[in-house]
């Protein structure tokens, strides 16, 4: 057994990889070789640590030194100072972990202090491409326990007692879904995993698949045993190549070890699974469209009932759960349903993973117990709004959700509380907005997305959302009328009532919630033809204020020759010609050109 005295964990999630994590790994290998440390120090590529804002991230054990914003140029210094001489390089550490020259443990910094990592337990801790590391962290122990000590009914009972609800956004009690699939009549059944994760800005599922793919394999096997299936499908969007690759490696390794295939753990349980790639359609995250896609059909929803538990893939009873839902299963089996039910609120048990983005200091992935308030997530874990700006709103639930304002900040987050306020927790996407965001533009952004992604099958969604987008575009161009606001509301309610699937039924939510909480912004856009946040370019003018020194720099950079001005004379912008590109604003040496 080689004795390695130090582990260097390099985050290999998609975020850090696109910021150069692979170069960092290569440089470490080079430096370790140069100092002849390669047999003592091991480089481990892990999944996402969650604090994406501070990436690329490198953690050195046994000290637990958390280096952030690491570049390839820092590696020589880290190797020589820390790995060779034992002196932690304080100025490269994550700033918050150093206080008064004392290095705090990473668990004490604001971002990690309130987190409880259950679904993300192994992310950032193990190398997901080495099955033994997963096994070291009690991997496949739950499956062994289930196959040898529990009956399918026992398993379903445990999941029911835990109170686990679907993490994809629907929040349907998972134990009950498992039970329905178990009770369904049929000789062939399937289990499936929804890894389509289409919400813009959401990357919870991606991180689990990149950082801990085996937990999904093991949980799906447990589910298959419980409902009586022998085959599983993981429907994963093709836009996640790293996740797909890690999952493929994990499946291969599991097969080699006999953890997938025939007679697992010497019982008569057989299970194997395959990956089905999505092709870029948001609607395929909807369960019936997903199933159609797996069958090789066009991804379009169908009416329910029958639900997938009765008639799913190829007409057989199918259990379809989200990645994050599965990620909780092994822990529930190992630690017991009572432990899980002890976390969270009365109706929403356990934890939830959130992808925090937008105008926030600590962009990244976090997992907190249900019941944590929005204020705690945004201001304590998230670190608040950067640049001293004021908080305006937080969009939860992606294109299906709504905006919440500062009067709602003390709401404990769970499935039901946010729905009551006109939004929803959804799959966990949380986009924070500050005073420089225009809420009408935000609604338009989300509607633009859903119009693009609408499958076209039902008229309310296909026609209705498009008309709503047209109205919003007109408003943002300064051509809106007051009646438009009424029309938007009527259309929204009709679409919500009549659309065939969740995409259409929830598409109007961003519009409805911004109309409710920020109606004044809509009115200003329509009646005054102004965008006070300074976003909707058609409602803005670019003006040269007092202080112009007549240097002609702006006249030369303007692509449409809209600025009139001689040397040493005050310049003026011809508003008819101006295309509002902003090039003059950047060029002005005395900064007197503004958008208003």
């Amino acid at each position: 057994m080689e004795l390695v005295r130090s582990h260097v964990l390099v985050c290999g999630g998609t975020g850090c990889t696109s910021s150069g994590a692979l170069d960092i790994e290569a440089k470490f290998a080079e430096e370790l070789n140069r100092h002849e440390l390669e047999n003592e120090v091991k480089i481990v590529r892990t999944g996402c640590f969650g604090l994406c804002e501070a990436g690329p991230i490198v953690i050195v054990y046994p000290e637990g030194a958390f280096y952030s914003r690491v570049t390839a140029d820092d590696i020589a210094r880290i190797t020589e100072e820390h790995l060779l001489k034992g002196r932690i390089v304080k100025d490269l550490l994550y700033a918050e972990s150093v206080e008064d020259d004392v290095i705090k443990s990473i668990d004490e910094v604001g971002f990690y202090q309130k987190q409880e990592r259950i679904a993300l337990k192994n992310c950032g801790v193990i190398n997901p491409e080495i099955i033994e590391e997963y096994i070291a962290m009690d991997g496949y122990k739950a499956l062994g326990q289930v196959l040898t000590e529990m009956s399918p009914e026992d398993v379903i009972d445990e999941i029911k007692k835990s109170g686990l609800r679907g993490r994809g956004g629907g929040g349907f009690p998972s134990g009950l879904k498992w039970q329905f699939t178990y009770q369904a009549e049929g000789d062939v059944k399937y289990v499936a995993c929804n890894a389509d994760e289409g919400d813009p800005g959401a990357f919870m599922d991606r991180s689990v698949l990149e950082g801990d793919p085996h937990t999904i394999i093991e949980s799906m096997a447990i589910a298959a045993y419980a409902v009586g299936a022998e085959r599983g499908y993981v429907y994963i969007r093709a836009e996640y190549p790293i996740a797909v690759n890690r999952l493929e490696i994990a499946i291969e390794q599991a097969r080699e070890m006999g953890l997938l295939g025939e007679g697992i753990f010497d019982t008569d349980f057989n299970f194997d699974l395959e990956i089905k790639l999505g092709a870029g359609a948001f609607v395929c995250g909807e369960e019936t469209a997903l199933i159609a896609s797996i069958e090789g059909e066009r991804g379009m929803p169908r009416p329910r009932p029958p639900f997938p538990a009765q008639k799913g893939i190829f007409g057989k009873p199918t259990l379809l759960n989200n990645v994050e839902t599965y990620a909780n299963i092994t822990q529930i089996i190992l630690n017991g349903s009572e432990w899980f039910a002890g976390i969270g609120t009365e109706k929403s048990k356990g934890t939830k993973v959130f992808a925090l983005g937008g105008k926030i200091e600590n962009t990244g992935l976090l997992e907190v117990p249900m019941g944590t308030t929005l204020r705690e997530v945004i201001f304590e874990v998230g670190g608040g709004i950067p640049n001293g700006k004021a908080f305006k709103a937080v969009q939860t639930g992606g294109p299906s959700g709504g905006c919440l304002t500062d009067e709602h900040l003390d709401t404990p987050i769970d499935y039901d509380n946010l729905v009551e306020l006109g939004s929803m927790m959804g799959s966990g996407g949380m986009i924070v907005m500050d005073e420089d965001n225009c809420m009408v533009d935000v609604a338009r952004f989300f509607l633009d997305f859903t119009v693009d992604e609408s499958c076209g099958k039902c008229t309310p969604c296909r026609e209705g959302t498009k008309r709503m987008l047209e109205i919003l575009n007109r408003i943002c161009e300064g051509k809106g009328v007051m009646k438009d606001l009424e029309t938007l509301e009527t259309l929204s309610h009709s679409i919500k009532d009549a659309a065939l699937c969740g995409l259409g039924q929830t598409a109007p939510n961003p519009v409805l919630s911004t109309l409710e909480h920020f109606r004044d912004e809509y009115v200003t856009h329509v009646a005054d033809k102004k965008c006070l946040a300074g976003v909707c370019t058609d409602l803005l003018q670019i003006v040269i204020k007092d202080g112009c020194i007549g240097c002609t720099a702006c006249t030369r950079v303007c692509p449409v020759d809209a600025i009139i001005g001689e040397r040493k004379a005050v310049h003026v912008i011809d508003q008819e010609k101006c295309i509002k590109c902003g090039a003059c604003i950047d060029k002005c040496p005395v900064k007197v050109i503004v958008k208003e």
């Binding site: 005295r5 054990y61 046994p62 001489k85 034992g86 193990i126 009690d138 991997g139 496949y140 062994g144």
Partner: protein, 122 residues
């Protein structure tokens, strides 16, 4: 792999390789690796400590470095923090002395007093 027993065995082996990333108890060996240490020859001492621990299949042993401990004329210095025992400071270490420390102190729990800093004062 067929049985739960086999899985448990793989888990045990694998845990040894990754438990450096978790909080654990056990023995901590610290080698002075500042300029004074390095020029006195602390690198070979450290390699010897690692090598000997490896040969003896020791688990729960953390070997790290530190800066200047202060008594530069007595480098290479090795400090041992063993659970349930007081900290022991070994001075003027060499590769052979290091191996003896592993064998007698770490494995058998017997401090090698002649190598300690206390011994130099006599």
């Amino acid at each position: 792999m067929k049985s739960l027993a086999e899985l448990a065995k793989i888990r045990e082996e694998a845990l040894k390789k990754v438990n450096i990333r978790t909080d654990r108890k056990g023995t901590r060996i610290v080698v002075g690796m500042a300029t004074c240490g390095i020029s006195a020859g602390a690198r070979p001492v450290m390699s010897a400590l690692i090598n000997e621990s490896q040969k003896r299949n020791l688990t729960d042993v953390e070997i790290t470095q530190t800066g200047c401990i202060g008594v530069c004329r007595l480098e290479p210095i090795v400090e041992v923090y063993k659970e349930g025992m007081e900290k022991v400071t070994y001075v003027e270490m060499t590769e052979e002395k290091a191996r003896r420390v592993i064998a007698e102190h770490i494995v058998n729990g017997q401090i090698v007093s002649e190598f300690t800093i206390g011994a130099t004062e006599k």
